[in-house]
Amino acid sequence: MHSEPLNDRNVSSNSTYYYVDIEEYPTQGWDKFKRVIKRTFKGELFVGLWVVLREMIKFDIHTVQYPKEKLPIGPRYRAVHKLLRLWESGYERCIGCGLCEKICISDCIRMDTKIDENSRKEVTEYSINLGRCIFCGYCAEVCPELAIVHGQRYENGSEQRAHFVIKDDMLTPLDLLTSGQQAEYPGFGSITPNESVKKTPLAY
């Protein structure tokens, strides 16, 4: 529907707005009593009861057995972070640029980096303080390598308020990567993991 008729908020024949029929509000005591009786015995109650009974007999139960079962979550849901690996080589995607650390508005990301034996930057440790994280998603947004993404794990119950998330917890384990279980963030520039993904020739 076009929104223009809606913008005209004056009730008229051109406008989409109209007055709803509203029953007179009872003022007399007798009228009030009559309304109670009418509402009580009208039988609407049994309509709902019948639905419950019908479904009970049919054994078509929709209750999710949490925590044994979980509902699927929207792909853009921002839960606990994950560090991803490159599909083709298994190397970590994180290059240690420090942009997530910089952009983090609750200042809860830290990383330790060093130079490795191939003169490349190596991220030795990466941690997010989930007690402070507000799951704003800026880190995932700023990451130039799609290395840090928000995963699907939304359960943060813990004995301590500020449990660290360390690199080993977040990084995709290699066996999950090789079995194709690394969930890909469907954002800009992301790839579809299939057989067309090949190892990047890094040495040439």
């Binding site: 640029c97 910089k102 440790e125």
Partner: protein
């Protein structure tokens, strides 16, 4: 004065200034990539091009002086196009690794690329295979290098190592070690500092932190008496260590100041402690029962004042032989010169065109002086006379006249030098008599300097305009130091030489000004502060109680320029400091820096609060660090003594001299500085001492064994004995040449 216009605005330039310098002074912005104030223009980037009404094409403002009435345009459409094209060329195949590059966020190329809006690559070239070079403390990535030549110019014109050069080869050009496969230099790291991109980086620092994460703490270098300005850059240590801060690197304002390798890489000398009350009570008790406090000059001026107050309160003595030697030298100097401080500064050396260095191995004692000498030699064509018993291979490119005298003969040498410099000067009768009565034959023979050497010096001096005499720390410990001081004062006041005296430690001058020092009598119950004692406090060596190191303290140093320089806390120290001990003993001021304002004004201090002291260089190089001490005048009493018989140093003689980039107990524990604690000597020394390369020897009077290393670059019979590795670092007391007994020990 030259009057010209920039963008139709009238501008005046001093004689010798370039258009760029005049424009910057007048507040005009001309972009540059390769310009660095302290060297001659590299003229490689061509970004500083300007238009004038008297030239057809574009001219480089960095190397062109203006002429009277010139009209200069610095921001026309044509210039913008030219500069944008230059930036496009710079960006050809520049690796897009800003994400990991150390320079990212503080990168000239990044800034200028954004400034000129170069958003994509207009040209391309075939990429060359370029391997990353590992040169010890320095890593070089040729693919990041933009060939601006700043590093080459600084290394050659300021440092004097002349260790790197540009290898021309069109697109394959790169910076390479000069005449060598690998970099062989003093590792000052100045090339790292000036590199506008991430091509030259410190291998210790590389990929450990990003520029924007580091907090810069303005401070003063704690290693030698030059008191160079530096910035400690700190960040949290690591995830495992939580919030505790750590120094990641040291940077400097490389446009106007220069750091040596010790300043740049020797920063992790901090100690850490917690507040241990029983230990503190023990320390306070030790101070109460002490007869004296022995301390080294590795302290702030405020702490020196605390020690002086403790002395007055407790009636104890203060021992510091190294500062006492300087103090008595300056006392004798004041008698003849009539003023409290010498006229020369390190900056004045750089401006000089004649420099005489006497009695000190400046390249290792005080690199700032060496850099100033190199600058003078390269930029002013300065004539430099280096007078020392040992030749210095590092100075061979700048020194025009090497004069070797016999160890111990400094008094005679200075007297002869005074006679040479005062040859045609009208002097008073006392001086005239003294100079005439010098036994030249004896002095020349014993010091082993020929007449012709002095004649050559005299000739050189007559031609020069701005002259500096540098007196090294050898003479401070000489038995005839007081008389040498008088002669130095005479030369300074009677000639147009300015005088620089080089004490050994960072705050020797401050201690000498603030403390009444007593002769070290080796008595009992001595509390040591960074020095030997029955109870030792401090941050150097093995201490009973740790006090904050000089990178964990705020306070001031007094440099050899008589310049009070503030320093700040880079890493917080959790334990007690000297002021806490003083408080417990009844010398009360809440903070150590409360003493800054109380520093004695009769010695030239200005009575300014610590928090009112600045510590930075202005945009045009104005020195806004602390303040320069007032020169105190007093009565002149010229008197000279006969020259004492020159002592002879025969047999196995060593010279106490630390290797390059090593100064004290702080550099000894710094991981970034090379440690070479071997006894180094020439073949001649080895033969005289009957030892061979690699043999371990014990030296009488010293605790540790030393390895002897045969050094081809040394000449003569004197060996170099490092002392920075001794228990409390180099205490610097006594005459630096020493006749020793060697004993071989089993390896």
């Amino acid at each position: 004065m030259i009057n010209f216009t920039i963008n139709n605005q009238p501008v005046t330039a001093q004689k010798g200034e370039t258009i760029l310098q005049a424009a910057r002074k007048a507040g005009f912005y001309i972009p540059t990539m390769c310009y660095i104030e302290k060297t001659t223009p590299c003229a490689s980037c061509r970004l500083c091009v300007v238009e004038t009404d008297k030239t057809e094409g574009l001219i480089l403002s960095c190397q062109t002086p203006p002429t009277e009435g010139l009209n200069v345009t610095i921001d026309s459409e044509r210039l913008q196009q030219e500069r944008t094209n230059i930036m496009r060329m710079y960006d050809v195949n520049h690796p897009l690794e800003c994400g990991v590059c150390d320079k990212s966020g503080a990168c000239d190329l990044q800034n200028k690329t954004l400034e000129f809006g170069v958003s994509h690559q207009h040209f391309s070239a075939k990429e060359q295979p370029r391997a990353i070079q590992h040169w010890g403390a320095i890593n070089y990535d040729p693919s990041l290098c933009i060939l601006c030549e700043k590093c080459v110019h600084v290394c050659n014109e300021v440092i004097g190592d002349d260790a790197i050069t540009l290898q021309f080869g069109g697109y394959k050009s790169s910076v390479v070690p000069k005449n060598s496969d690998t970099l062989d230099c003093t590792f000052c790291g100045e090339c790292i500092a000036v590199c506008p991109v991430g091509a030259l980086v410190s291998s210790e620092f590389q990929y450990r932190a990003n520029a924007w994460e580091l907090t810069q703490i303005p401070a003063t270098c704690a290693h030698c008496s030059a008191g160079c300005s530096l910035m400690y850059e700190v960040k949290h240590a690591s995830i495992a260590q939580g919030e505790s801060q750590k120094i990641y690197r040291v940077t400097n304002n490389f446009e106007f100041s220069t750091l040596c390798g010790a300043g740049r890489f020797g920063f992790d000398f901090g100690v850490q402690a917690s507040k241990d009350e029983t230990l503190f009570a023990k320390a306070v008790g030790a101070f109460e029962t002490a007869s004296a406090i022995r301390f080294s000059s590795l302290i702030t001026t405020e702490e020196a004042l605390i020690l002086q107050r403790l002395k007055e309160k407790l009636g104890i003595k203060l021992f510091n032989e190294e500062a006492r030697a300087y103090q008595s030298f300056m006392a004798a100097y004041t008698e003849v010169s009539g003023k409290s401080s010498p006229s020369g500064t390190v900056e004045a050396i750089a401006q000089s065109d004649a420099i005489i260095v006497l009695g000190g191995r400046v390249s290792s004692d005080n690199p700032a002086i060496r850099y100033a000498m190199t600058t003078a030699a390269r930029h002013n064509g300065a004539k430099i006379v280096y007078m020392h018993p040992l030749e210095d291979a590092l100075l061979q490119n700048v020194v025009t006249q090497n004069v070797r005298y016999e160890a111990g003969s400094e008094e005679g040498v200075v007297a002869m030098l005074a006679k040479t410099l005062l040859e045609n000067v009208d002097v008073d009768d006392v001086t005239k008599n003294f100079l005439e009565n010098l036994d030249e034959g004896y002095l020349c023979a014993e010091s082993n300097i020929g007449d012709e050497e002095f004649a050559r010096m005299g000739k050189m001096v007559r031609r020069a305009k701005r002259k500096t005499l540098v007196i090294g720390s050898d003479v401070l410990g000489h038995s005839r130091a007081a008389h040498i001081a008088r002669l130095c004062a005479l030369m300074e006041s009677m000639t147009d030489f300015s005088l620089v005296i080089v004490p050994q430690m960072v705050n020797t001058v401050g201690v000498a000004l603030v403390c009444d020092l007593d002769e070290d009598t080796q008595s009992d119950h001595v509390v040591g502060y960074n020095a030997k004692g029955d109870f030792v406090v401090g941050s150097v060596g093995k201490c009973d109680m740790a006090l904050p190191a000089l990178n964990a303290q705020e306070g001031t140093f007094v440099s050899l320029n008589y310049h009070l320089l503030p320093t700040n806390v880079a890493v917080a120290f959790e334990g007690y400091c000297l002021n806490d001990i003083a408080l417990a003993l009844g010398v009360t001021a809440r903070n150590t820096i409360d003493y800054t304002v109380q520093l004695p004004q009769e010695k030239g201090f200005k009575g300014i609060e610590f928090d009112a002291l600045d510590n930075f260089y202005g945009a045009l190089g104005e020195d806004n660090r602390g303040y320069i001490l007032d020169v105190m005048m007093c009565e002149v009493a010229i008197s000279f003594e006969a020259i004492a018989d020159l002592p002879e140093f025969n047999g196995t003689v060593v010279y106490r001299c630390n290797p390059i980039n090593q100064f004290n107990g702080y550099t000894a524990v710094s991981s970034g500085v090379e440690k070479d604690d071997a006894l180094r000597g020439s073949m001649q020394f080895a033969m005289a001492a009957r030892i061979g390369h690699g043999e371990r020897v014990m030296i009488d009077g010293y605790d540790e064994a030393k390895v002897f290393v045969l050094d081809e670059t040394l000449k003569g019979t004197i060996a170099l004995l490092p002392r920075y590795d001794s228990p409390f670092g180099d205490m610097g007391a006594g005459y630096r040449f020493e006749k020793i007994q060697l004993k071989k020990v089993g390896s």
